[in-house]
Symmetry: C2
Subunit: 328 residues, 2 copies
Amino acid sequence: MKDVAARAGVGLKTVSRVVNGEPGVTVETERRVQEAIDSLGFRRNDSARVLRKGRTASIGLVLEDLADPFYGPLSRAVEEVARAHGALLINGSSAEDPEREQELALALCARRVDGLIVIPAGDDHRYLEPEIKAGVATVFVDRPAGRIDADAVLSDSFGGSRAGVAHLIAHGHRRIGFIGDQPRIHTATERLRGYRTAMEDAELPVAPSWVALGSTAPEAVRDAVVDMVAGPEPVTALFAGNNRVTVTALRALADHQQRIALVGFDDLELADLLHITVIAQDAAALGRTAAERLFRRLDGIDDRPAQVTLKTTLIPRGSGEIPPGTIH
Amino acid sequence: MKDVAARAGVGLKTVSRVVNGEPGVTVETERRVQEAIDSLGFRRNDSARVLRKGRTASIGLVLEDLADPFYGPLSRAVEEVARAHGALLINGSSAEDPEREQELALALCARRVDGLIVIPAGDDHRYLEPEIKAGVATVFVDRPAGRIDADAVLSDSFGGSRAGVAHLIAHGHRRIGFIGDQPRIHTATERLRGYRTAMEDAELPVAPSWVALGSTAPEAVRDAVVDMVAGPEPVTALFAGNNRVTVTALRALADHQQRIALVGFDDLELADLLHITVIAQDAAALGRTAAERLFRRLDGIDDRPAQVTLKTTLIPRGSGEIPPGTIH
DNA sequence: ATGAAAGCGCTAACAA
DNA sequence: TTGTTAGCGCTTTCAT
């Protein structure tokens, strides 16, 4: 910038004005400055600008895994809102590791992102308290924050799985299995609660062998499926706790003689062609809502932290409507 | 940092040494500084650090659409490599709009990212020349750069679709349709070229009505499919130019009386359960290779720009092995 | 082992 | 309309 000023024969501030489109520069001066800019190939250094202004015009997004088809649309939705506000998006994957989540979130804070959107891997977010106090707007998505009071945008996991399980019951099932993620993950326990409530609503017992909570790695889910359909009290229907579970369960069920009904939490691409009944949550809406909340805070609207819950949708496509006892 | 120094009763530089783990500080002094840091909740401001050091420890990724299941894994792979090098990832979607690509890429350069990975939307990247000269390492992925000499990591679109179409021919098809993306997109024309070459190899004619290049919006693809299977010279097989086309084509073919063979470029989740034969490219490998190349450059290894092409894999699963004339 | 001073490139505040 | 000065928070250089 100094060089540009020298070459155009003007002061530093005049260049700054031209670069930022501020008023108070004659057309002629502007032309000279512009010429100098072009010939020197100058481009403003935003790092310096950030240091001076105190705002980085960027927000951070800590999610679980960008490669998961659930988080792609969520991230994209956040990006669109950020873009509308002139901000860039830095994102990182925690790989469901609380330490990595913390490391990432703090690294983003050190970069002085204006705001932070976090999909929690851990269940204790007190480490963010000083940052939030220092002015980093923070919104949690998909799962609530642990041990601090903060904004959160969630899907109705409880209501969704309750409706999904009720749907299976309505189609005649009495023995229904539930396969979900680690119990330390909030959505997993909420969905399990929905399952149990739906069973209670129908006054149905739940055998311990019908519930599997834990790793959603393919082998683990496959084992759980096999146990449930082949055990002494074999289930006639399954509720899959998330998209990964649904996919693996479908593969495991593909060559089972008995047709097992299935409702999965989360929609999948091609689920329509495979006739999979799902409880769909709107990942993009989740991201959009969270980002909008964040920017409201950045715009100075400072209401109390609140929790927003988005509805889920039951989409019947066939797999959830198979009656018990159907053969392939 | 000033405050920390004051509170610990030491000089600014000493605090800096402690914060950065530099040697030359007594244990006792370090303890005092650390205490001040903790009680003040101090965290280094990386913006200032960046300004001083000239390196941001961040790289930019401009891709087409983070919500597209092809780019999620790619982005994640880039992130992992970046993380291994202590860098953060800023990413943005061009939405296949050349102007938006440029805007994003230049915004990232203004932030002084150390390197840039670009999945081109446009076909003229001369606008990046000054940045590259100024030291921003740049690698193009999925599609080559336009009008400049730069690193590129690509999948073998030509060879992949040639193999896919040859596979259909080997299963008895003579009238094969091709549906692909806009011709200005490099991969689209390469894949078309692969199709034409495979047809020529087998000395088969190609009717103009068998080729549709253009928007991959569902309606457009659906129309193309309907035209091809119902025209005067109806095709018995289709080659789908990318994942979106495959999905829409499958939906359009689902209720057609004749079974149409299909091979799609790009693998899909659940493609195994739907028995879809595909030409798979390894999105993660694409991202990893590009990122590794980028960091090699950042490490000072400065060989000439080169183009790397990754192999594709034909995965036969059923849809590509349907003989002509099969009825549902 | 420790610290003082200069300066990275920009913008805010003020002056001319 | 234009320019000057100070300083954002850190690291680098050079003294001590």
